[in-house]
Symmetry: C2
C-alpha cells in the first residue's frame, strides 16, 4: 500500500541502502544519485515507516509531555510552548493524560521504557511517587524533566517557579494594602506548595505578622480574624473562595484580601483586594526544553531544581 524504500530503489535502480543514505543526506552519496533519489522519493510521496525506523535506529524523534489533565494554565501553556519549540528542533511532542490515576500513570511510565519516546516531560501529581517504573527509567538514564513539581526522584531535573520568592512578594503586596494577619493555604504535600508555604512563613515571621496555616477550608478561629484585615493566600482562587465561604461571618466589616497564583476564577465582590502572581510558563517551558535537548545530546546536565522567576504580579482589585 504505502511506498517503501525498496520501491524507490527499484525505480532508481540502486540498492535500498543507497536510498536510505541519500534520504538522510549522507555526503557519501554522489550528488547526482542523491538528487535523483530525492526527486523520485518526493514524486512517489515516500513517507518512511516510523515503526521500522525506530526499531532499526533505536530513536523516535518523539517526546512526551505527561500531565494529569488539561484544566489549568500550568498544563495548557507549557504544552504549547514546548510543542512549538520542539517541533523546530525536529521532535514531535505528544501530550498524554493520566487523569490523576496512579494505574494510568504507571502504565504510561512503562510505555516510556518501551521505545515510544526519546524522553519525557512530566508534571507529577501527588500519586505514584514510588512507582517501580521510575527507578527502571532512572537506571536506564532515561531523559526525564519534571515541570512545576518534583517527584520523589533525586537527581532528576525539575523546572519550577521561584515559589518562595513569589509567595513572599504576594505577602508584601498584601501588607502594603493593610493586611495584618494571614491565612495561608498552600499545600505542603507537593513541592511547589511547600516552597510557597516556606516563602510566605519566612516573610511573615521576619515582620512578626501573625498567620494561620490551613490545608482545607475549615472554620477558622474567629478571634484571629477580628479587628484587623486578613489576607488569604492560596495556590488557586478556589481554595481562597472556599475558605471565604466557610468563614464569611468573620468578614462583615473588613473584607479580606486574596493572593493567588495564575488566575482568579471566582466572583470578586467580596474581596477588598486581589493579587495574582502569574508564573512564567514560557520561561519554564524554554528552560525545560533546553535541559531536555542537552540530555538528548548525551550531555550531563545539572540535575537539580531550576527556579524561574514569576512573570509578574497583577492586582485585579485594590482596597
Amino acid at each position: 500500500m504505502a511506498i517503501r524504500l525498496s520501491d524507490i530503489a527499484q525505480a532508481c535502480k540502486v540498492d535500498i541502502s543507497t536510498v536510505s543514505r541519500a534520504l538522510h543526506n549522507d555526503p557519501r552519496v554522489r550528488e547526482n544519485t542523491r538528487e535523483l533519489i530525492r526527486r523520485t522519493a518526493k514524486k512517489m510521496r515516500y513517507a518512511p515507516n516510523l515503526a521500522a525506523r525506530n526499531l532499526a535506529a533505536g530513536t523516535t524523534k518523539t517526546l512526551w509531555l505527561l500531565v494529569p489533565d488539561l484544566k489549568n494554565p500550568i498544563q495548557q501553556e507549557p504544552a504549547q510552548f514546548l510543542s512549538e519549540r520542539l517541533s523546530r528542533e525536529g521532535y514531535d511532542l505528544m501530550i498524554v493524560l493520566y487523569h490523576d490515576e496512579p494505574d494510568a500513570f504507571r502504565r504510561l511510565l512503562m510505555r516510556l521504557t518501551q521505545n515510544v519516546a526519546d524522553g519525557a516531560f512530566i508534571i507529577p501529581s501527588g500519586i505514584a511517587y514510588d512507582a517501580p517504573e521510575y527507578t527502571s527509567l532512572k537506571k536506564n538514564q532515561y531523559p526525564l524533566v519534571f515541570l512545576d513539581r518534583r517527584a520523589e526522584l533525586k537527581s532528576c531535573a525539575t523546572v519550577t517557579t521561584d515559589n518562595a520568592a513569589a509567595a513572599a512578594e504576594l505577602v508584601a503586596r498584601c501588607i502594603q494594602d493593610g493586611a495584618n494577619r494571614f491565612v495561608i493555604m498552600f499545600e505542603k504535600s507537593n513541592s511547589a506548595g511547600h516552597e510557597r508555604l516556606q516563602g510566605a512563613e519566612k516573610a511573615l515571621s521576619r515582620q512578626k505578622i501573625p498567620y494561620l496555616i490551613f490545608d482545607k477550608p475549615e472554620i477558622a478561629n474567629a478571634s484571629f480574624m477580628k479587628n484587623g484585615r486578613t489576607a488569604i493566600l492560596a495556590s488557586s482562587s478556589f481554595s481562597v473562595y472556599a475558605f471565604y465561604e466557610h468563614n464569611k461571618q468573620h468578614f462583615p466589616v473588613t473584607p479580606p484580601i486574596a493572593g493567588v497564583f495564575d488566575q482568579w476564577n471566582d466572583r470578586t465582590e467580596n474581596f477588598a483586594g486581589i493579587y495574582i502572581c502569574r508564573q512564567d510558563f514560557h520561561g519554564i517551558a524554554e528552560k525545560a526544553a533546553d535541559i531536555m535537548l542537552e540530555k538528548l545530546k548525551g550531555k550531563k546536565t545539572e540535575s537539580g531544581l531550576h527556579h524561574i522567576p514569576a512573570l509578574d504580579f497583577i492586582s485585579l482589585k485594590k482596597p
Copy 2:
C-alpha cells in the same frame, strides 16, 4: 539493556514464538507453560518493544487527537473524555498540536500515514483543507473522525453540536428578553459557524426580526441599533465584546443582550443579559469514540455529520 522476548525464552527454555503466544494469551499454549512464562515475564519486568511490535503487527494501539491549540474548552474537554474512554478500550491517546500552522498540520497529517497511530481525531481550523496528505489518507481508508468542524473531505465522519438548533435557541431566549434586532457574528468560514449562522437567520426571518451580519467588529449602522434592544450573537465572547467596544456609543440607553457559546470571558457590566449555549463535549467525545472504535473494527460506519444536541443554555444575567 531492556528485557526481550528472547531473554524470557531462554529463561523458560522455550521458543520465543511460544513466549509471544503465551503473553498474548493464545489458548493454544498449555496452561502450565503459559503460567510459567507469564510469571517469569513479570518477574523480569518484561515490557515489549513497541516499535518492533508495531512493525511486525502493523498496529500501534495508539490514536491521535490533532488540535490547533489548547485554548478553548472545545480543545480541552474532548481531549480528557476521549483519553479516558479510549484507555479503557486499550488505546493510548496522543494529543498533538499544530499551532494553526498549515505546514505543521500537513507534516503531522503525513505522520499518520507513517504508522504512528491506528487512527486520528481532528479538530480542523481553516487551514490546509486541500492538503494532499488528506487524499492520501482517504485513499488508504485511514480511520479519521472530525470534531466540531468538518474539513472539505466528503465521506469523513464529523461529530459536532447541533449548531443550527443551538443558534435558534439563543435567538429565542434573546427575543424573550425583549431583543428586537440582532447582530450576528458567526463566521461562515467554518462549518460550525456556518450552521449557526443559518440557524439564527432562519429563526429570525421566520419571526420577521431585523438582523445584520458582521464578520468583524466593524462600526455598525447607528440607525439600526437605535430605538430598540439589540442582541449580539457570536461564537465567543471576545467577538461580542469587540463589537460592543466599537459601537458603545449606540448603547447608552438600552444595553445589548449577548448570546455566545461555551463560556463568557469578559466583563459583564455593559450587557443587559448574557446567554450561553454550552456544548455537550462529553456527548461529542463519546460519539466520536464510538465511531472510531467501529472503524477500527473494520465496520463501515455512516460517514456523514453527527449532530449532538447542546448540553444546556444558561443565563449569566437577565434583564
